[in-house]
Amino acid sequence: MKSARLVGLFAAATLLAAGTSANAQITVGVAGPMSGQYASFGEQLKNGATLALEDLNAAGGVNGQQLKLSVGDDACDPKQARATADRLAGQRVPVVFGHFCSSSSIPASEAYAEGNVLQISPASTNPTFTERKLWNTFRVCGRDDQQGSLAGKYLAANFKDKKIAILDDKSTYGAGLANETKKALNAAGVTEAMKESYTQGDKDFTALVSRMKAAGIDVVFIGGYHTESGLILRQMRDQGMKTLLMAGDALADKQFAQITGALSEGVLMTFGSDPRNRPAAAEIVKKFKAKGIDPEGYTLYTYAAVQVWAQAVTQIKSTDPKKVAAAMKAGKWQTVLGEISFDAKGDITVTDYVMYQWKADGTYAELK
């Protein structure tokens, strides 16, 4: 007992020593749903940030300082997101890469703005995130108005005379995307046959599916995450429906295919043109694969977010969040996604949402 305690003391002492000797160290945050039903996306963010930091540190860090990662878990819950943000702001991190869910990123950004923390979201696509004139919000992904416009136009062009249903999960992201899609669809002169909402976390959609069956729905667009979308697809097939499923970027995770099995064949999804295929990413993708990680979905977006920040910090030789934010908006940054620049709101200036199709083997490819 005594010796164990001594060992503990010794360990604490060395930790302290390490803490003081390495004071030339910057802690940065990554936040997202590390637990809960969207944890697979949190993992994407964490993987991206971890490898980006490793690569930066191996190259000597930024401005000669090594980087350390502090991970925040919001479980995709707005309340927990705010608490996580307060905690990270309390640690005086200069920047947080996150969050994933729009409904988390938005309340968190206010805490970061007050706490003088820069926030770069790799994945939150709801327009509101950058529309509130906060100084600290950036994102390296597209926006749901762009995504919804693509989805709506695609639906109008390809399924003009079919019956279309639009569903959403009432979340900031899901309802936002569904509304943008509906707007674009209606602008193209097509009206949907059904618009419904379900509750996040529901497992039983049989009643909803029967209802769509009775209405003779041919195509269903879902503004929602992969767990519910996968279950809706499964239950549609159980009831013998051949309805086509289309959804947004929240489907971009292997777990969707785990839920649906071979049923994923033919499912349509809007997502930024696959970063894994971009020439700038080839080497990084190899590094991820060597570690047994497939850099799917938002992994590379997170990597790019870290790159942008590191380049801006190196350029102005300071981590002061306000100065970095100004520099980020002014410059052009070379990232694994290609060259990125930001507009005055903090959105990227070029986005290229494209349509993807899932295959039966659980992979997805751009629809040409």
């Binding site: 909402s197 379900y198 497992k203 049989t206 009643a207 069956k213 499964r234 839920i259 099995g261």
Partner: protein, 305 residues
């Protein structure tokens, strides 16, 4: 008409699962007068054990679905009932003589313990099982485009539930264990004085309740194919509501309540809006409780002298 029938099938399958879980709440309440809040999590543990058992069986090459299902049923019922027994032994029995709220708090604690234990042991990500029982039957085809169908898994759920319910009612009404249980329900102290081994009876009640919950867990796993550590919470709340709606303490009441909740949710989604199905289910619960405070089949509480 076809649409109504299809939704009836959907509602019955959903309600059966609620009913199976609700029996566990109502039994424990009947016998020791406490709400076992950990019961929903026992259901979740049952689903996880079933998933692990399925994966092990597939790994060792047992892929014939009926055999695998039978083995999984055995393994899951056995292990889950051990959990049920352990929960009672650790968290409730030591508190049996104490004031009424103590075991209730202990139950909430147990629920949190089980949830976090599974989250840590199994991870927070959802676990999936590929569809094992497939195939649908056409029940009614009147020539228009809506065809009423029932899937094999729905048949399995409804049949299993009614079989278990019948078997269990027989156990309570016609066996010596059932007599002991009813005696404990009426008066725990008097039953003990008359030679009923109350500790054993209560332990067995927890064992049986957990076994039924594990069957519900298996059905849930087979039907939806996706589970996570949090499913016990929602299912538990719904099943508890079902037990209260049917009249807590009454076995047929629990089953009836489960079916009712399932049907209300389904029909509300079918004819009104999916968004408000939970609002509808709980509103009806409140209305029923205003006019029938003991639930639909509950007996009015008799003051024990």
């Amino acid at each position: 008409m076809e649409y109504f029938l299809q939704q009836l099938i959907n509602g019955l399958a959903l309600g059966s699962i609620y009913g199976l879980v609700a029996i566990g709440y109502t039994m424990v309440y009947g016998i020791i007068g406490m709400i076992n809040f950990a019961h929903g999590d026992i259901f979740m543990v049952g689903a996880f054990i079933a998933l692990i058992a399925f994966l092990i069986l597939i790994a060792i090459g047992i892929t014939a679905v009926p055999l695998a299902l039978f083995l999984v049923l055995l393994i899951a019922m056995l292990l889950t009932s051990l959990y049920g027994w352990a929960v009672e032994r650790i968290a409730y029995r030591p508190l049996r003589g104490s004031f009424r709220l103590a075991p209730l708090i202990s139950a909430i604690g147990m629920s949190i313990v089980l949830q976090n234990y599974v989250q840590l042991a199994q991870g927070a990500r959802v676990k999936t099982l590929p569809p094992l029982i497939t195939g649908v039957h056409t029940l009614l085809d009147l020539g228009n485009r809506f065809v009423v169908q029932i899937s094999n898994i729905q048949i399995l759920i409804i049949v299993t539930t009614f079989a278990l319910m019948t078997g269990f009612s027989w156990l309570v009404s016609s066996t010596s264990l059932g007599r002991d249980m009813r005696a404990c329900e009426q008066d725990l102290k008097m039953a003990a004085l008359l030679g009923v081994d109350t500790n054993r009876t209560i332990s067995l009640t927890f064992l049986i309740g957990a076994a039924l919950a594990s069957v519900a867990g298996i059905m849930y796993l087979l039907y939806y194919g996706v589970i996570d550590f949090h499913i016990g919470f929602v299912a538990g709340v719904k099943a508890f509501t079902a037990a209260v709606l049917g009249g807590i303490g009454s076995l047929p009441g629990a089953m009836l309540g489960g079916l009712l909740i399932g049907l209300i949710e389904t029909y509300w989604s079918a004819y009104f809006s999916v968004q408000y199905k939970d609002v509808a289910a709980f509103s009806i619960l409140i209305i029923v409780l205003i006019f029938m405070p003991t639930g639909i089949l509950g007996r009015p509480e008799v003051e024990k002298v």
